[in-house]
């Protein structure tokens, strides 16, 4: 099988350089672009398996890039964000990006995210597997059963729906709005306290320590990430 192709869209050359060398060391092919325009052209030519996208591009914001890119590709997009405002991250995630890393970031963390996204991209049907296990929890979708350490766990319909959605998007950051829309419907997209309470329920039922979760992770001000 061909080595996956990663496209880096980043205007700062030094950052491009170390990201490229880290990815190449991982055995991946790497393409580069310094602007949004170049990035779109490069993406159209190379059909990358994953895009690493800087949010602070000189010729336009990242959300616009993702919107364009999403019209013809479903390859995962990992956003590098130097900005501290959560709104930009939400915008780019709502536009269809999959995950983000806040600058500065460790190489190991970057590679872990890239690997996770590539795995998702390659084996999408995995999320529809009948059984998923994480920690000491096992979810059997065919029988609609959740158990923890072999004991059945009772979930309400909403909790079950939320759990299913998070598992289906494991490794990906889901914004509050995306989750609310999918589970509660569009009318609830501003009632984020519902979401927070139900994620709290899931944590209390399925995590060892609800205050220090290992699977239902909070992306503060943005949304949640479920990690298998």
């Amino acid at each position: 099988m061909n080595k996956p192709l990663i496209l880096i869209v980043e205007d700062e050359q030094q950052i491009r350089r170390f990201v490229r060398s880290a990815l190449e060391r991982e055995g991946l092919r790497v393409g580069e672009a310094a602007t949004r325009r170049e990035g779109l052209i490069e993406a159209g030519r190379g059909k990358p398996d994953l895009v690493v996208l800087d949010l602070g591009l000189p010729d336009g914001d990242g959300a616009a890039f993702v919107e364009d890119f999403r019209t013809w590709s479903s390859a995962p997009v990992l956003v590098l964000s130097a900005r501290s405002t959560e709104n930009d991250k939400i915008d780019v995630l709502d536009a269809g990006a999959d995950d983000y890393l806040t600058k500065p970031f460790a190489v190991g963390e970057l590679l872990a995210r890239v690997r996770a996204l590539l795995r998702r991209g390659r084996s999408n049907p995995e999320s529809e597997a009948a059984r998923v296990a994480f920690g000491d929890v096992e979810v059997d979708f065919s029988r609609r059963q959740v158990s923890r350490r072999g004991e059945p766990v009772k979930l309400t319909p909403i909790e079950y729906r939320l759990l299913g959605l998070l598992i289906a998007n494991a490794g990906k950051v889901m914004t509050h709005r995306q989750l609310l829309r999918e589970v509660w419907g569009p009318a609830y997209s501003d009632s984020s306290h519902y979401l927070r309470i139900y994620v709290g329920h899931l944590r209390h039922k399925l995590e060892d320590d609800a205050a220090q979760p290992r699977h239902f992770l909070t992306e503060t001000g943005v949304g949640y990430r479920f990690q298998l």
Binding site: E12, Q14, I15, R17, F18, V19, S21, A22, R25, G56, A82, R83, S84, T85, E86, K103, P104, F105, A106, V107, G108, R143, R144, Q145, V146, P152, V153, K154, L155, T156, P157, I158, E159, Y160, S191, S192, H193, Y194, R196, I197, V199, G200, H204, A210, A211, Q212, P213, L217, T218, E219, T220, G221
Partner: protein, 514 residues
């Protein structure tokens, strides 16, 4: 004061002259008619006299018309009715003629004089209205309070010979003079002005001052609040001034209010511009500083984790560069946050959420920094939902945990406790170690102050100041103390507010299979 005043009855001649003219007019009519008494019928002579009375009424008004009626009847009797040159009357019918003539003269004279005075009044009103309109036009074009004052003075002087002082309410300091004081104000007057401003009621004093004038104090009532007061000094006799003065006061207050809002809008615009500038500088700074830091950190990290590994010394150096870059990044972040918070207008993105979630997020964010300290959390799951900005409160927890980990000896636990009071929720982060230096306890939240200035631990004294700004922006309080058991504790409160109702959802009837 010698100028004709619209509001002062402007008859140019003294009244005795008007009466004299009435008498003269009657005499003149008699003199003109006398040579023709042979050819003129008496009824026509009567007509001439009645017409004279009408003319007198038109020219000289009501009183002279009455006099002219009486004089006309007398002259008619004396000069024209036989026997002539005597008031005696031979034919009794003439008595009826006199009575009718007198009655007609009086009635026609009265009506005419009434019309005249109405016309006069209407004229006067129209002129006042025109002058008011002119004032309104000037006030609408006024760009400063000084111009308002000028227009007002000019109007009052021209229309009623009054002088005025315009006082503008300015914030909490009370009313201040706009322009020159046209009326000198003593202490008592100032007191009256303040009272008028507070009560919004006009004070029309009837007491005369040294110059024989009396003072009226009118409030300038704005749409939302009092805008000041108007002091008018005017000749005492003018009771009908009040409606005019009130109209003027209302025009002036509209003008002053308009100027006030123009000023407010201008200030807001300037504010918004400087705010935009500040935030764009901050975000540019943040981007420009973070970009090289990201490259530095990433490259050092790549070296430190290179496969195959670098020689041990080089690897350690790379790791040290990476850690220093991360520290620098933390400091820059703190300073930028502080700058943002201190710029005064933090936009809080308040949402109802459990505290537990931000605590978890901040513990995860700190990660390895807390490796040496077990974290114990109690009471969090019993808390109600609170309304706060998750990103900022996460920052508070990060700073508190980080501080605790930095200053407490390795291995000692960090404890987070929560208590829900009736109005607020208190969260306490407790750690071991020496605690704060006792004499600095009240200063630890000041910018660039540190709990232990001589401490070997690196720090700038920004973290707790940031915490305080954030907590204060949420309407909470923060305090630091050394608990009796030793160590340090920082406690902050958040208001409970009214959490939104949540529709509860019940478990499905048969267990385990939703």
């Amino acid at each position: 004061m010698a100028l004709p005043r619209l509001l002062i009855d402007s008859r140019p001649h003294p009244s005795w002259w008007r009466y004299a003219r009435a008498v003269l007019a009657c005499g003149l009519t008699a003199g003109l008619a006398f040579p023709f008494h042979e050819s003129l019928d008496l009824p026509n002579t009567v007509m001439l006299f009645v017409m004279t009375v009408v003319l007198v009424a038109v020219k000289a008004g009501r009183g002279p018309a009455v006099l002219a009626s009486v004089v006309s009847v007398a002259l008619f009797d004396f000069l024209f009715v036989p026997p002539r040159f005597s008031f005696a009357v031979t034919d009794g019918q003439y008595l009826l003629t006199f009575a009718v003539m007198l009655a007609v003269s009086l009635i026609v004279g009265q009506l005419t004089a009434g019309l005249r005075s109405q016309a006069h009044e209407a004229d006067r009103r129209e002129q006042v209205t025109r002058a008011l309109y002119e004032l309104a036009r000037k006030l609408a074009g006024a760009m400063t309070v000084g111009q308002v004052d000028d227009a007002l003075r000019h109007f009052l002087d021209a229309q009623c010979g009054a002088r005025s002082s315009l006082l503008i309410a300015a914030g909490d300091t009370g009313p201040t003079l706009a322009g020159e004081p046209g009326v000198a104000l003593d202490r008592l007057d100032w007191q009256t002005v303040r009272m008028v401003c507070a009560s919004q009621q006009a004070v029309m004093s009837s007491a005369l001052d040294a110059a024989g004038l009396c003072r009226h104090f009118l409030p300038l009532t704005g749409a939302t609040r009092n805008r000041g007061a108007l002091v008018v000094s005017v000749a005492a006799a003018l009771g009908e001034m009040r409606p005019l003065l009130e109209a003027v006061a209302s025009l002036v207050s509209t003008a002053v209010e308009r100027l006030h809002f123009v000023e407010v809008a201008h200030a807001a615009q300037v504010d918004a511009m400087s705010e935009r500038l500040r935030s764009s500088i901050l975000s540019a700074l943040s981007h420009d500083v973070r970009t090289p830091l990201t490259a530095l950190y990433g490259m050092a990290d790549a070296l430190a984790t290179a496969r195959p590994p670098l020689p041990a010394e080089a690897q350690e150096t790379a790791a040290a560069i990476r850690d220093q870059a991360l520290r620098l990044n933390g400091m820059v972040g703190n300073l930028l946050d502080m700058a943002r918070l201190q710029s005064g207008r933090v936009q809080l993105r308040r949402e109802w959420q459990p505290v537990e979630e931000v605590v978890g997020a901040s513990l995860k964010l700190l990660g390895p920094a807390l490796a040496d300290h077990p974290v114990r959390i109690t009471g969090l799951d019993a808390l109600p939902l609170l309304e706060f900005d998750a990103v900022l409160i996460e920052r508070v927890f990060c700073n508190l945990f980080e501080n605790a980990a930095k200053y407490a000896p390795p291995g000692t636990p960090i404890v987070l406790e929560a208590d829900a009071g009736p109005e607020t929720v208190e969260l306490r982060v407790r750690s071991g170690g020496e605690g704060f230096a006792a004499e600095r306890l009240d200063k630890v939240f000041d910018l660039f102050e540190r709990g232990r200035p001589e401490s070997a631990v690196a720090g700038m004294g920004v973290g707790l100041a940031i915490c305080q700004s954030i907590v204060a922006a949420h309407g909470g309080t923060i305090r630091a103390f050394n608990p009796p058991g030793g160590g340090a504790c920082v406690a902050f409160t958040l208001p409970r507010g009214c959490p939104p109702a949540i529709e509860s959802e019940s478990l499905p009837p048969e267990g385990g299979t939703p």
